[in-house]
């Protein structure tokens, strides 16, 4: 019995730590989505598909063109940032004055488009980089370097956005627009420019996430569906547009998935997380950190 408990605890601790490591990347994605929602008041349903584009970018740069990983990553972040800005210019800008739900549906169209574009161009094969990072053993627990790297880089990315938002003029303007999008143009802020910059930052965060996720997962056209829905739930749970709430909710979700997966299949971890989400909608409809009214 004693021995059983010890082994059990080791696995439990390993799952808890893996959950935290997963939470980092989810927090990064949630930040990108929240930023776009908070500033432009648009939900990009196709956000995870931008990650898929980035993962394909990484795959081709590293495997086909033999660019080293550390050089491919920034290129890829730029690529997805560009896709983000383009998405805003082509799809969102003409719809800015339409009902918000139309914008959401239009990005749903982009989701179809990107998924099938990838299917048409690259086929439905699963591809992976073939980079095998070593595994770190601590005591009897094992953590892959890929996850540790992802967690570290995600935190660096989140901090960089935080510094940018709080220390630069553009960042201040972005936060101001998020507070009142009608007044700020009167104060001499070019809303169009700010929207494009925000979309590019949101895309860039998806690009960073794709560089990290490509080390852990195979790329295929539907890979976005494996973390897209979860990212939306995190954002809603944290309160759409609430940066800190999204950060906390990402870790809560990651722990539920990781611990749920420990006791049963990974899918049941997701089911638990979704169930928890709906339960929380009863208790805290405005998000985890919202004040009760």
């Amino acid at each position: 019995m004693q021995a059983f408990l010890e082994i059990f605890d080791i696995y439990l601790l390993e799952a808890v730590i893996n959950g935290i490591l997963l939470g980092g990347v989810l927090a990064l994605l949630a930040l990108g989505l929240n930023l776009i929602f908070g500033v432009i008041d648009v939900t990009w349903i196709c956000y995870a598909e931008l990650v898929m584009i980035g993962m394909y970018g990484m795959y081709f740069l590293v495997s086909t063109y033999h660019v080293p990983y550390w050089a491919a990553a920034p290129l890829c972040i730029l690529l997805v940032a560009g896709v983000g800005a383009l998405l805003h210019l082509v799809v969102i800008q003409p719809l800015l004055s339409a009902p918000p739900i139309n914008q959401l549906l239009a990005t749903g169209g982009v989701l179809f488009f990107l998924q099938s574009l990838a299917t048409v161009c690259f086929g439905i094969d699963f591809r992976n980089l073939g980079i095998q990072l070593p595994v770190l053993g601590v005591g009897e627990m094992n953590f892959s370097y890929a996850r540790l790297l992802a967690f570290g880089a995600a935190l660096v990315g989140i901090s960089a956005v935080y510094v940018f938002m709080n220390r630069t003029y553009t960042g201040t303007a972005i936060r101001a627009i998020a507070q009142d999008r009608h007044i700020m143009p009167l104060m001499g802020v070019d809303a169009r420019r700010i929207y494009i910059i925000t979309s590019a930052i949101g895309g860039g965060l998806a690009g960073l996430a794709s560089c990290l996720l490509v080390l852990q997962y195979d790329v295929h056209p539907f890979v976005g569906l494996s973390f897209g829905p979860i990212t939306f739930l995190i954002c809603v749970l944290g309160g759409l547009g609430n940066f800190f709430g999204g950060f906390v909710a990402a870790f809560v979700f990651a722990e539920i998935i990781s611990l749920g997966g420990l006791f049963s299949d990974l899918e049941w971890g997701y089911v638990l997380a979704f169930g928890f989400f709906i339960l929380m909608m009863f208790i805290r409809p405005g998000g985890l950190l919202a004040r009760r009214s």
Binding site: L95, A98, L105, F113, S116, V236, Y270, F277, M281
Partner: protein
């Protein structure tokens, strides 16, 4: 709205007769198969737009459809319960699910984006539950109801396409009748007021939560029914064809393209999307994988930007404008 004139009544009667007579005159299995698909999906799209027209954009309808299909099929295979009982049970399940998710949403004023995302979670849950309980459902490999050796009313299995065509036609007609019923009811005015301004609607005495719940449950029941019949017709379902986000988005897409605000809009959407997919499949074979969705995606964006009332909605508007001028 003017009452039914003799001319329009005659038009409807002729249309109905032509549709009923069609399989007896022209019974090639392939076109009939396409017609049945169009009718079943039209019904599903109609059930989405019955609430979608009031600004209640749900991305959870893939979930209701999955419940309808899988509950019916699971009861048949594992407990031997006939679909005649299984379908009502699956409808009750979908209705309860709709209440559980929609009540807190409406009670706590979760609208617009939030409502879409919460219902998106519902699609996700149903998809994951079906995939995860693979011992019962076969997981992502799909699931077939046990076949009877011959046609059976008890098992609701028919090999004859004409029978299925008539069943699907009846279902589709009932869908349109429900649409008409809603369209002519006080609830419609209440819901239109709610979609404009919830507070103002509540102030003039509309029970916002109850009105929205009613329409959501109606819509969920219809969608689950579509799922169940789809399963009975195809005799093969996978989690991805009847549930999940892609199915939800597919419904939204077809409804928006056809027109959300007119009764036959979703049907027009179903005709366009299914014919497009079939044409591509026949024209390009396996090379066409992905092309249909690629075109859907572009069209969806274009429609929302330039023609938010859909093909049928915009055409009717244009005709009305011309008649008034001429």
């Amino acid at each position: 709205m003017e009452g039914p004139t003799t001319r329009s009544m005659a038009g409807w009667a002729v249309g109905a007769l032509v549709l009923i007579a069609l399989p007896f005159v022209w019974s090639d299995p392939y076109p009939l198969h396409i017609m049945i698909q169009i009718l079943i999906w039209s019904f599903a799209y109609t059930s989405w737009s019955i609430m979608g027209r009031f600004g209640l954009v749900s991305l959870g309808h893939g979930g209701f459809m999955g419940v309808g299909a899988y509950v019916t099929a699971l009861l048949w295979n594992h407990l031997g319960i006939t679909p005649w009982i299984g379908i009502p049970v699956s409808l009750v399940c979908a209705g309860v699910l709709a209440l559980v998710v929609a009540y807190p949403c409406f009670r706590f004023r979760i609208t617009g984006h939030y409502f879409a995302l919460v219902t998106l979670a519902l699609s996700g849950i149903v998809l994951q539950v079906i995939t995860a309980s693979r011992d019962l459902t076969g997981g992502s490999l799909g699931f077939s109801p046990k076949m009877m050796p011959a046609d059976s009313i008890f098992a609701l299995q028919f090999r004859d396409k004409t029978t299925w065509y008539l069943i699907a036609l009846a279902m589709w007609a009932v869908g349109l009748l429900i649409w008409r019923k809603v369209d002519r009811s006080m609830d419609r005015y209440a819901l239109e007021a709610v979609s404009e301004d919830e507070d103002a609607a509540a102030a003039v005495g509309v029970n916002v939560t109850v009105e929205k719940l009613k329409i959501t449950v109606i819509s969920a029941l219809m969608t689950a029914f579509a799922g169940a019949l789809y399963c009975q017709y195809q005799l093969f379902i996978t989690p991805d064809t009847v549930s999940g986000i892609s199915v939800s988005l597919q419904m939204v897409f077809a409804a928006v393209v056809g027109g959300v605000y007119v009764a036959l809009g979703p049907t027009v959407g179903a005709v366009i999307t299914i014919l497009l997919a079939e044409t591509l499949r026949i024209g390009f074979g396996t090379k066409a994988v992905g092309w249909d969705n690629l075109i859907y995606g572009v069209l969806l964006v274009l429609f929302i930007v330039f023609l938010p009332k859909g093909i049928l909605g915009s055409t009717l508007d244009w005709l009305r404008l011309r008649r008034r001028r001429g």
